[in-house]
């Protein structure tokens, strides 16, 4: 954070951005080309937070070296420092970074009631990009000594305490604080580190907090109550505070981060926080509901914006490398093999999964390995989305307004706000999704895992650029928006899916594109159809669902919409929702084979395979 905003945005020609992930550090270069900002080059290198290097900047420099190699532009001087400012063929003007390395920002949150203030505290922490290690609440079914034991075991970077509405409870929240203070959680970064405690609870309890945490060893920060009343959630101040503390305390203690902070031109943001920011910006700007997913090696993050409400969840043990074994254990191998159309040897698969877990950086070399990895990804995404739905709910503990008409249909509070029918845009990122050799695979992965209903646009973050752009937006919004529009999102196309169930062979819906001039047809239940529609094209679609099926206008009602094309095009899905695959292995395999044939998922012998670069700028 050395020289924040000391540059003139108009003069910025070259921007470098890195994202230090838990396994890889990804760097991108943005250049002004013909007056607009475009992402031009990128590089990757393993992250170097752990031993033997224990210095994150080594990985950063490696990734920048790769850009230097491929772009031919000299970025680093002989001492390995970034050359700034840019000249015609050397250096860059801005360098920014995000980080989730070393486990990212790890937090413990506490609240009075698990489903109320503790849930709000968790939302605030997750929204700020943290990993929530545990949630302590007075009703978490643990006895005080168990809670103390747990607090001692955890080594959080910071603690967020909430509890009590303003003017409400002070007793319980003080009790929670009194559990945390003597347990003295040991932070990850040595004894000299004063554990930051953020209190965002009942304002009346603030003096108590000062008393409890005043003894030393803690750095107490007080901010506005994140639940001033049960009917209202105010996460902004707590999120900002988390971010401040992250920079002030956590970053300063991570290996090599002091060095990294000194060379960036904007505060380092936790990666998921930056992704959340950019997704909210899109949803707000276009007035849509959006879901974003980032599947990583260890964790899967799901972001959603429904009716303006942002939610993020981190599924800590669902990922494609470190956690791949857990995905297999949770989903079970037969469930994963539902998505596989070829015969596979179970023993072989099990060993492969475990080897991927202990050696997380390897990539699939054969088609068979890819098919299996994508099957695992489907299950990981499905499980992560399920967890997200359970977490992204309306507020609990809110008074309901009723009429006599509600007699037999009393909806309770805390219902999920995730509604696949209302979903407009699904954005995918993370290795397995964005590095899939064919875009069709990414699209089908999303459709199978998220089961979008009605009309949903599918996009992928071409090279996981959203975190970079999230930070960039804070220093150079114009550049961020321009790159986002042109290079970040690769529109895969649109999925049209009917909600409902039927019998195979019965009609599901009929469709026509631009009044039939660009194609029309009828789909039977269980079918899937792929219609080409180029990246910059759009068309008017008319969908007539059969009785009992809903494509967004209501059961059996005709829907007319403009649909956007993409690298994949239009996917018409008549497999019904919720998606049910045949139980029997052989039937399931042939059903999967049908999908593969209809979409052209894995062309065995194609002369020019589409590669990961196809979606980016070149």
């Amino acid at each position: 954070m050395s020289s924040e905003s000391t540059f003139n945005p108009a003069d910025v020609k070259v921007i470098l951005a890195t994202d230090c992930g838990s396994t890889t550090t990804k760097a991108i270069m943005i250049e002004q080309v013909d007056g607009v900002y475009r992402q031009t080059w990128r590089g990757e290198a393993p992250t170097t937070v752990e031993e033997p290097f224990a210095d994150v900047t080594v990985g950063v420099i490696n990734s920048l070296t790769e850009i230097q190699e491929v772009s031919g532009r000299r970025l680093l001087d002989d001492q390995g420092r970034i050359i700034r400012p840019a000249t015609a063929d050397e250096g860059c003007d801005i360098y920014i970074s995000t980080s989730s390395a070393g486990g990212g920002l790890q937090m413990m949150v506490a609240g009075v009631v698990r489903e109320m203030t503790a849930a709000s505290a968790k939302r605030a922490a997750l929204g700020a990009g943290a990993i929530v290690m545990d949630t302590i609440a007075s009703n978490d079914k643990r006895r005080p000594h168990e809670q103390i034991q747990r607090i001692r075991e955890l080594r959080p970077d910071m603690v967020l305490i909430s509890g009590g509405t303003d003017g409400g409870d002070t007793k319980k929240v003080t009790e929670i604080a009194e559990l945390i203070a003597p347990a003295k959680p040991r932070p990850r970064f040595g004894k000299a580190y004063e554990l930051p405690i953020i209190f965002a609870g009942n304002e009346k309890a603030q003096p108590e907090m000062n008393r409890v945490f005043g003894d030393g060893g803690f750095d107490l920060k007080i901010t506005d109550n994140l639940r001033p009343s049960l009917e209202q959630e105010n996460l902004g101040p707590a999120r900002d505070m988390i971010h401040d503390v992250f920079l002030e305390h956590v970053m300063a203690h991570a290996p090599g981060y002091d060095k990294l902070m000194s060379i960036t031109d904007a505060p380092i943001m936790p990666t998921p926080g930056a992704v959340g920011d950019i997704l909210q910006t899109i949803a707000k700007g276009r007035g849509i509901n959006a879901v974003g997913v980032d599947i990583g090696g260890a964790t899967t993050d799901v972001f959603s914006v429904f009716d303006g409400t942002f939610n993020r969840t981190v599924s800590a043990n669902l990922g494609m490398s470190y956690s791949i074994s857990n995905v297999c254990a949770e989903a079970t191998l037969p469930t994963i093999l539902r998505w596989v159309h070829i015969d596979m040897d179970e023993r072989e698969l099990r060993n492969r999964v475990k080897n991927k877990m202990i050696r997380p950086t390897t990539i699939p070399q054969t088609l068979e390995a890819l098919v299996f990895e994508q099957a695992v990804a489907r299950e990981a995404l499905r499980l992560a989305y399920k967890q997200h739905k359970e977490f992204a709910t309306t507020l609990k503990g809110v008074q309901q307004q009723r009429t006599v008409g509600d007699t037999f249909s009393q909806q309770s509070g805390g219902e999920t706000i995730v509604d696949n029918m209302k979903l407009d845009l699904l954005v995918a990122s993370g290795g397995v999704l964005s590095h899939a050799p064919r875009m069709h695979q990414t699209a089908m992965l999303l459709i199978d895992a998220f089961e979008p209903e009605g009309v949903t646009e599918l996009a992928k973050d071409s090279i996981f650029m959203m975190p970079h752009l999230g930070v960039l937006a804070s220093v150079h919004e114009q550049a961020a928006m321009e790159v986002f529009e042109r290079d970040c999102l690769v529109y895969l196309g649109t999925c049209v899916a009917a909600k409902g169930a039927g019998k195979p062979g019965k009609s599901c819906f009929s469709w026509s594109l631009d009044g039939g001039s660009r194609g029309s047809g009828e789909l039977q239940f269980g079918d899937l159809e792929h219609v080409e529609l180029g990246p910059d094209e759009s068309a008017e679609i008319e969908i007539r669902p059969a009785r009992g099926f809903d494509v967004g206008a209501g059961p059996g009602k005709v829907l007319k919409r403009t649909v956007r094309g993409g690298t994949v095009g239009l996917i018409l899905d008549a497999r019904g929702r919720p998606l049910a695959l045949p139980e029997e292995r052989q039937a399931c395999r042939s059903a999967m084979q049908k999908v593969i044939d209809q979409i052209g998922l894995y062309p065995a012998a194609e002369s020019t395979p589409v590669t990961q670069e196809s979606g980016s700028s070149d």
């Binding site: 109320m116 509405t165 503990g397 008074q399 007699t407 009393q410």
Partner: protein, 460 residues
């Protein structure tokens, strides 16, 4: 007055009438010769019955043109006993009528009963003489049997039949049957449908209990109101306010109060887990005791016996509106964050629910009073409706026995529902086809089916 009593009363009326007609017949010399009496009258006790019924058969009178047969019975008791019985039943009937009239005029039930008794004793004339042969009724000429019911099952009877000529003249007495006691068998065949229904319903309950015990999952529909208990208690905890629990205004003899105490146990357990304060004002002293027991055991189960405070469960007053005034006042002063109304409620339902709503509490109500349900639904966040309220204990405990019996009872309800639908359908057909010549056979079929349902199934 029970069914047997009614029948005796009817029989008595018939007897009085028959007496009059008999007198009229005897004093009418204008008609021709009396018809020949029927012969071979035999009587046998009706098998598989609850006693008091005798089956009579006879051979037709030799006279062609007759109006019918009149059946007579003779109870083998002394005249004075019969007279006393007749007098008593006449008095009972008069008393019941008077009482009903008095109550209709607004006299308190106890007073009405007493006054009616006095009047009956005063007004009903003593019966001094009872005719030896009591007429049991007249049957058409083509019917050669008769079921004499409503008899006393412990005394012997004799029977005889007279033919009644076309001009109303009665024949001579037929042969008199030997004395017969219409005794009760071990099994009453008329109750067989009831037995079958009982067997099916009990069997279903038993079967489902067994299935549940063997581990078959018993799915029970989510009851939003009970699911919301955590939410309501949580709200109270976060807001640092108390939980108010009203167990209705009836005593422990009311099933709804009992169900309310069950739910109280659950709420108190949740409150104990959250360490929230729960306050239970009661309007009956016994309910207070029961509520204390329930709350105490909940606190123990939750592992917080220390947190239990019996002083928060207290008796206010038996007076309906005194109680309501107290509770409403307390709500406005203390502003509880959660209010529960579980039990029997009357006029106070809306007063309580509206007060609770105005202080911003989450409110959960449960009652089986149909008239109060709309008020609760409109003013509360969640409402347990009738049966849901009673199912609460099975729902909350999740015990296989309780869930199984709940499911078994559902089977019973389905059976009843099916019979109601069939019955309504048949009755509709019967009514619609009445008087339509083309539908006569259908009408007759429907009629006999309805008769069967009404008399045999409902009658049993």
């Amino acid at each position: 007055m029970n069914r047997a009593g009614q029948r005796i009363a009817l029989a008595l009326n018939a007897l009085l009438l028959a007496g009059l007609t008999g007198v009229a017949a005897a004093s009418s010399p204008l008609t021709g010769a009396p018809p020949a009496p029927p012969s071979g009258v035999s009587a046998e006790d009706k098998p598989w019955d609850g006693g008091g019924t005798v089956l009579l058969r006879w051979e037709a009178s030799s006279t062609e043109e007759i109006k019918g047969y009149e059946v007579f019975a003779h109870q083998e008791v002394s005249g004075s006993v019969a007279a006393a019985e007749a007098e008593q039943s006449a008095k009972d009937e008069a008393e019941a009528q008077t009482e009903a009239i008095l109550e209709g005029e607004g006299v308190a039930p106890e007073d009405a009963e007493q006054q009616a008794g006095e009047r009956a004793a005063r007004d009903v004339a003593p019966v001094t003489d009872v005719p030896k042969w009591n007429s049991l009724g007249v049957v058409p000429p083509d019917q050669l049997e008769f079921i004499a019911s409503g008899l006393d099952k412990s005394t012997p009877y004799r029977f005889m039949v007279r033919a009644i000529g076309s001009d109303g003249e009665a024949s001579a007495d037929s042969n008199v049957t030997p004395a017969l006691v219409p005794y009760a068998q071990w099994f009453d065949g008329a109750k067989l449908p009831l037995f079958c229904i009982l067997f099916v319903i009990c069997g279903a309950v038993f079967l489902y209990v067994m299935l549940a015990r063997s581990g078959m999952p018993m799915k029970i529909r989510t009851i939003a109101g009970l699911k919301a208990v955590d939410e309501a208690v949580g709200r109270a905890t976060e807001m640092g306010r108390s939980i108010l629990y009203i167990n209705g205004i009836q005593d422990m003899d009311d099933l709804q109060t009992v169900a309310g105490v069950t739910v109280l146990g659950h709420v108190a357990k949740t409150a104990a887990e959250y360490d929230a304060k729960i306050e239970v004002p009661t309007s009956r002293s016994l309910v207070m005791t029961a509520a204390r027991e329930a709350v105490q055991s909940s606190y123990y189960t939750a592992g917080r016996p220390d947190a239990y405070n019996p002083d928060l469960i207290y008796y206010v007053t038996d007076e309906q509106f005194g109680f309501v005034a107290y509770v409403s006042g307390m709500m406005t002063r203390e502003k509880p964050a959660a209010c529960f109304y579980m039990g029997a409620f009357f006029a106070e339902s809306l007063i309580l629910a509206e007060t609770g709503n105005s202080v911003g509490a989450i409110q959960i109500a449960g009652t089986a009073q149909p008239s109060q349900l709309p008020f609760f639904v409109a003013a509360c966040d969640y409402t347990l409706i009738g049966e849901e309220f009673f199912a609460a204990s099975a729902y909350l405990s999740g015990q296989p026995d309780q869930l199984g019996s709940l499911k078994g009872q559902d089977v019973g309800k389905i059976i009843v529902g099916v019979f109601i639908i069939i019955g309504v359908g048949l009755a509709t057909v019967q009514a619609a086809t009445a008087g339509m010549p083309s539908m006569e056979s259908l009408h007759e079929g429907a009629t006999s089916a309805v008769d069967f349902l009404v008399n045999t199934i409902l009658g049993s």
